[in-house]
């Protein structure tokens, strides 16, 4: 076979001659959430989705931030939002974080939270047949039990299709 192609084919013993040095970096972090996200995460712990309204452009930012990147001003008008929304876009992933193949796909989706004027955040869809996810589909947060919530985005387990939604 090798003769069909130009060049010199590599054999497995050739690879052993090429030495490599293995190293696992010791890189550990503990990021401060900051004032805005801190309040957001505390809200999740209480089963609430908090947003913040910019007095300049009137947009509602969720997750909230301390400043509006459009108007470049501080933002402090807190609003509580519903835990329902619509699917803006989604992907059906048959590979996991490290690209291992999985049988049951993960469906990350960007959820436009109701009342936030089209803004929202990326989360996971659950209790849904991947073939039946649609743009604009109404969804609702499925929360972890209150005792298990710890102020983390995973306090919402996933968003599921809202019955009676179109």
């Amino acid at each position: 076979m090798a003769k069909e192609y130009p060049g010199t084919p590599l054999k497995s013993k050739d690879f052993k001659k090429a030495l490599k040095t293995k190293y696992t970096p010791s890189a550990e972090y503990a990021w401060s959430a900051g004032q805005a996200i801190n309040s957001f995460l505390n809200g999740l712990k209480e089963g609430r989705i908090l947003g913040i309204k910019c007095r300049g452009c009137k947009r509602i930012l969720v997750p909230p931030r301390a400043f509006c990147e459009e108007c470049f001003i501080s933002v402090e008008d807190w609003v509580e939002l519903k835990d329902t929304g619509r699917v803006n876009t989604f992907a059906i992933s048959y590979l996991d974080t490290m690209a291992n193949r999985i049988k049951k796909p993960i469906i990350p989706a960007v959820i436009e939270i109701d009342g936030a004027g089209g803004n929202g955040f990326l989360h996971i869809l659950g209790e849904v047949d991947p073939k039946k996810v649609k743009f604009g589909m109404k969804v609702k947060a499925v929360w972890k039990p209150a005792k298990e919530r710890k102020g983390d985005i995973t306090d919402i387990k996933y968003f599921k299709p809202l019955k009676g939604g179109d």
Partner: protein
């Protein structure tokens, strides 16, 4: 070439921890202050945003993705420089001189309190095949340099300790600094040995903080208040090879300085420059850098230091801000923080630590171990060639 000026400054101040703020909120604070100082609207007036950052310090690969929002750069031209903030200023100068932008915002920050093990990140900077597996802390590189420098320049540990005493004393007068203290030589020499010949107090402490500097073309700067001019800038890297580098003398600092001096038309730096903010990540570095900058002959810096020449009231004040030993070490923001100090001095608003009759300043940065990366900038209260 067109003159470039600094028209705005913002600095959060340095502190060992900032648990209540995210790095974005820290950067936002510095940016707001800088744009207010410059009198510019970042959403309309700034033509280029440049951040100096290192992914492993920030803990996010491809960190420039997270740069725009908090400095006003969303949907605007943004880039990041993986080097000290002074290199980012050099890039900003190029953007202005090449006509790409009239106003440039330069940002750098340290949120090192988010890093659980800074020594792990520093170790990761060593050459992976030849150096990293030997099993030593990266600060050792500075110990190696210090010993060779002491040996060749005939400088003592006591003299290096004087740098710590001076800079921490200076920091007491600087409300932005985190490590102001009244210490004496014995305190430094008797602090626990760290990387001999360095003791613990010879090493600056990491701190959090963010700094934003606004640059402008001459056309814009002519109408701005409190303008300070970038009259020269240069940068240089030596070979990183441990066997080939000069362990006693940072050649790259000399070459960066020569370029900056040529740019600024400076022939006799010690006579023509009024004060300097130079890298003092480790005590000996201040002395070594002053000599590599051709301000002094090798071995002379220690003598002048001990004579008080580098004190606030001395003939050539050095690190009046407190330097990294007194301010704290802000990673890639060190160059910008030194620039912040130099501009405040040239504007005459440095308060208790004001250097008298300051018109020309030198700022120098080094990217820390294990690098051989340095930059030098000459600032003036007048543009080169006169007002």
């Amino acid at each position: 070439m067109e003159n470039v000026a600094i028209i705005g400054l913002g600095f959060t101040g340095a502190r060992p921890d900032s648990p209540e703020l995210s790095y974005k909120e820290l950067m936002y604070e510095a940016a707001v202050k800088a744009y207010e100082d410059a009198g510019v609207d970042p959403r309309k007036d700034v033509g280029s945003f440049i951040g100096a950052s290192e992914d492993f310090w920030d803990g996010t690969s491809i960190f420039d993705e997270y740069l725009p929002d908090q400095i006003g750069g969303a949907l605007r031209p943004v880039c990041s420089i993986c080097n000290d903030g002074l290199h980012a200023i050099a890039t900003g100068v190029m953007h202005i001189r090449s006509g790409i932008a009239d106003i440039v915002a330069v940002e750098a920050h340290s949120k090192v309190s988010d890093v659980v093990n800074p020594d792990g990140i520093m170790h990761f900077a060593l050459d992976p095949v030849i150096d990293r597996t030997l099993g030593y802390n990266a600060h050792v590189i500075a110990g190696l340099e210090m010993y060779r420098y002491l040996h060749e320049a005939c400088v003592t540990k006591d003299e290096c300790a004087e740098v710590v005493v001076k800079n921490r004393r200076n920091a007491l007068l600087n409300p932005y600094a985190a490590y102001g203290a009244k210490v004496n030589i014995e305190d430094v020499l008797c602090s626990p040995p760290a990387y001999e010949p360095m003791s613990e107090m010879d090493v600056s402490n990491f701190v959090d903080g963010a700094c934003v500097i606004v640059l402008a073309s001459e056309r814009i700067a002519r109408n701005a208040n409190d303008t300070v001019w970038i009259n020269g800038i240069g940068w240089c890297n030596d070979s990183p090879n441990m066997g080939l580098r000069d362990w006693s003398y940072p050649r790259y600092v000399k070459l960066a300085a020569e370029r900056a001096y040529a740019d600024a038309g400076i022939n006799n730096p010690y006579d023509e420059i009024d004060f300097a903010e130079v890298d003092d990540t480790y005590s000996f570095k201040e002395l070594q850098h002053l000599e590599a900058l051709r301000l002094l002959e090798t071995g002379d810096a220690a003598r002048l230091l001990c004579d008080g020449a580098f004190d606030l009231e001395g003939e050539f004040p050095v690190n009046v801000s407190g330097g990294s030993l007194g301010m704290g070490n802000l990673l890639d923001a060190n160059g910008l923080v030194k620039t912040f100090e130099a501009v405040e001095q040239l504007r005459g608003i440095a308060g208790q630590r004001q250097v008298k009759n300051a018109e020309t300043a030198l700022v120098q940065s080094w990217r820390g171990v294990p690098t051989t990366s340095g930059a030098v900038m000459i600032l003036g209260s007048e543009p080169k060639g006169g007002a």
